[in-house]
């Protein structure tokens, strides 16, 4: 009988599910919101429906991300750092550094053969995170998803000296008032984030095989700015938001198969998938 494994990554902004068998079978991405548990059930249901599977068809479920403890039906919780490493290794096996730019934090992970050797995180301030880009997009009146393309048309990147979100927003507004083109300002913001990410990655031994995950990876302007800073091409997986969920599913698969290799059958969580309800 074919076996399936699910990974669910509850980030601060988005919740992602990936179901894998021999390959990726199905995936769903939805906004997280305040009701982690309810959404975890809902997104998992959607992913199962897409794959034509029942919850009972899953052999093992791993939860990751900041909301991982809020997944009652998960069999195991693993940090997103390990899951990103597993996910990237399966998608881009040559990568040795992962830059993950999430909604509320950013991190750099050093890995060897898909295993985490070291990591650095920025989780105390919004600088260098998706939230930073959201604030700036709002200040400039540009849709978040348009930032990347727009910045590529910049004549030159404006100099943004503040990486503090609040001060950078003021600086952008002030430069806008002085007539600086919007594209230049966005390019300047990408440059400022790239500088910050580079200095974070510099705490690890930087190698030229760098991959980017998280929502930030969907911003082509930011990717280009990072490439300029790192001096090499940055690898982007097909769907950067899914890396952690895929990694979680792979961790589940490995955990299950390792146990089977020892002659053990892992017990599933007794908490099945509950119908999504506001009160659950």
């Amino acid at each position: 009988m074919k076996q399936y494994f699910a990974g669910i990554d509850i980030g601060s902004t988005m919740t992602k599910v990936a179901i894998v068998g021999d390959t990726l079978v199905s995936s769903v991405i939805g906004p997280t919101g305040p009701e982690h548990r309810r959404l975890a059930n809902k997104v998992m249901e959607e992913a199962l429906n897409k794959a034509g599977l029942d919850f009972e068809d899953l052999s093992y479920v791993v939860a990751t991300g900041y909301g991982r403890i809020n997944v009652p039906f998960a069999d195991k919780q693993i940090t997103e750092i390990t899951c990103h490493a597993k996910g990237i290794y399966s998608l881009l096996p040559t990568a040795e550094i992962i830059v993950d730019i999430g909604g509320q934090d950013s991190k750099c992970i050093k890995l060897k053969a898909g295993k985490v050797i070291s990591f650095v995180m920025n989780d105390k301030c919004a600088a260098g995170t998706g939230r930073f880009l959201e604030v700036i997009a709002d200040a400039l009146g540009v849709p978040l998803e348009k930032l990347g393309e727009l910045s590529l048309s910049a004549g030159k990147a404006a100099i943004i000296s503040n990486t503090c979100t609040v001060f950078a927003e003021q600086e952008v507004t002030s430069q806008l008032a002085n007539g600086e083109p919007v594209a230049n300002l966005i390019a300047g913001i990408h440059e400022a984030i790239a500088v910050r990410i580079y200095s974070m990655a510099n705490k690890l031994k930087i190698s030229p095989d760098i991959a980017i995950t998280g929502g930030g990876a969907k911003n082509i302007g930011l990717v280009r700015a990072l490439e300029g800073k790192f001096g090499c091409q940055v690898l982007v997986p097909p769907e950067p938001l899914l890396t952690g969920a895929i990694g979680a599913a792979i961790v589940g698969k490995e955990t299950y198969e390792n146990a089977a290799g020892r002659g053990e059958t892992l017990k599933r969580s007794t908490m099945g998938l509950q119908a999504a309800s506001f009160f659950s």
Partner: protein, 443 residues
């Protein structure tokens, strides 16, 4: 409230006695005021402990008081008070906490602010400080305090040690630094004599200096018992058991405490009682003061099978024979030598490893002696002189030693506003996974 948390099942009995020590130190300042004894604001690691004890001056430790305020999560009112007089939050929060406390007490005509943790500290009759490289606020903290306690005399000496330079042999310089430090201590004695109206009892001082030597020795002998696998005590406890060494030097109680702890640890080793249910990873607390309001994080590490058999923080002692101190009949000169050599005795080792520095040599020594799998640093934002160098230490360690897993936690000592438990635990989880990765690779 930190006080409401369940005590750790595997903590040492000795650590459980520490609140009594701390309360005792604080209430001694209040009792001294009633009995007409002199109370002095004092600062740790200034080498002035035996001088105060020999002259019956009761020390009031601001750093300890601030730590208690933080542990009880009751520091905010004092921090805000200091902030209201333009002291920045980015200054040392030990200093700003006590300054806020002093400001409140003076506004109340010298009465203790209501609800001051554990009864508060007595108003000082003098302030005995020392500017030294360990702690930059100390150059101005005593004078800043005097701004609010204007009738209280202040002494600020200085106890330096030779700077580290890989191309310079420090041994010739040590004598110059010791001579200077000895004169500073002599000035401290003169200041105390003037303000308490009696002369120093030099025989008593010599006896207390000898008692401190013996306390340093038994402290190190005891802490080195933690090399045992499983370790019988971890840093979570050491952040408490440091109290007698840090705040009660020159007292028999401090010596006796470590004698008792020594006995207890030997018993635990014999019974193979470890800190964690199953000791999977041994970690060095590489540097940094802890967040006093989040000591429960050590339990979180323990719950993951991670223990801390050793730390650099508060291990401000060494076996005296290892320091190879020159003989002298002057107790002040002995204190100065002890202080200077404590810092310089890693210099030769560092010089022999290109690119190293003494603080990193110390970390490497502990990693190897205590068989540690990884290193955790805590970077407290409001303590610059020590914590600002942590990232550099971590980088040097990886460069000259090996790519050992390192976690740099971020927070503060007193100011809880920078702390996020979920983020901190997330980092700890990821660090444990990295340790497991390295372990599974057989590194």
């Amino acid at each position: 409230m930190a006080d409401d948390k369940k005590p750790r099942a595997l903590a040492t009995q000795a650590a459980a006695k520490i609140p009594k020590f701390v309360r005792g130190n604080m209430s001694a300042t209040l009792k001294a005021k009633e009995e007409g004894k002199k109370v002095a604001y004092a600062y740790i690691n200034d080498g002035q402990d035996e001088i105060m004890r020999a002259m019956d001056i009761v020390p009031a430790w601001g750093e300890s008081f601030s730590g208690v305020c933080a542990a009880k999560r009751d520091a905010e009112q004092y921090l805000q008070k200091a902030e209201s007089d333009n002291f920045s939050r980015s200054l040392c929060t030990y200093a700003t906490c006590t300054l806020g406390f002093d400001m409140l007490r003076e506004e109340m005509g010298g009465e203790m602010p209501p609800g001051a943790p554990w009864g508060g500290m007595g108003r000082p009759d003098m302030i005995i400080g020392s500017g030294q490289q360990l702690c930059d606020p100390r150059f101005k903290w005593p004078q800043a305090t005097q701004h609010y306690l204007q009738d209280v005399p202040v002494f600020v000496g200085s106890m330096y040690y030779p700077p580290w330079d890989p191309n310079m042999d420090h041994k010739g310089q040590e004598k110059i630094y010791v001579k200077y430090a000895t004169e500073e201590l002599r000035a401290c004695v003169s200041f105390c004599e003037k303000h308490i109206g009696k002369k120093m009892d030099w025989d008593k001082l010599a006896a207390l200096v000898d008692l401190t030597d013996r306390t340093w020795d038994i402290f190190i002998d005891t802490y080195e018992l933690r090399k045992a696998i499983p370790t019988p005590m971890d840093t979570g406890d050491a952040m408490n058991t440091m109290v007698p060494l840090t705040f009660n030097l020159g007292t028999q109680e401090a010596y006796d405490f470590y004698a008792d702890l020594n006995l207890e640890l030997r018993q635990k080793i014999e019974q193979k009682q470890g800190v964690a249910d199953e000791e999977k990873y041994r970690i060095l607390w590489g540097a940094g003061l802890p967040s006093w309001f989040a000591l429960g994080d050590f339990q979180y590490f323990n719950s993951k099978g991670a223990v801390f058999p050793v730390e650099t923080t508060y291990r401000n002692a060494e076996k005296v024979e290892r320091l190879n101190l020159p003989k002298t009949n002057d107790p002040l000169e002995h204190i100065a030598w002890r202080w200077v050599r404590f810092w310089t005795h890693w210099y030769d080792k560092a010089r022999n490893r290109p690119g190293s520095i003494p603080k990193v040599e110390r970390i490497i020594e502990y990693i190897e002696d205590y068989k540690c799998d990884g290193v955790v640093f805590h970077s407290a934002f409001s303590c610059r002189s020590w914590h600002a160098g942590i990232v550099q230490q971590a980088e040097i360690l990886r460069k000259i030693y090996k790519d050992i897993p390192v976690l740099i936690m971020e927070g503060d000592i007193v100011d809880i506003s920078s702390y996020n438990e979920a983020d901190t635990h997330n980092r700890i989880d990821a660090f444990i996974e990295a340790l497991e990765t390295v372990r599974s690779k057989g590194n």
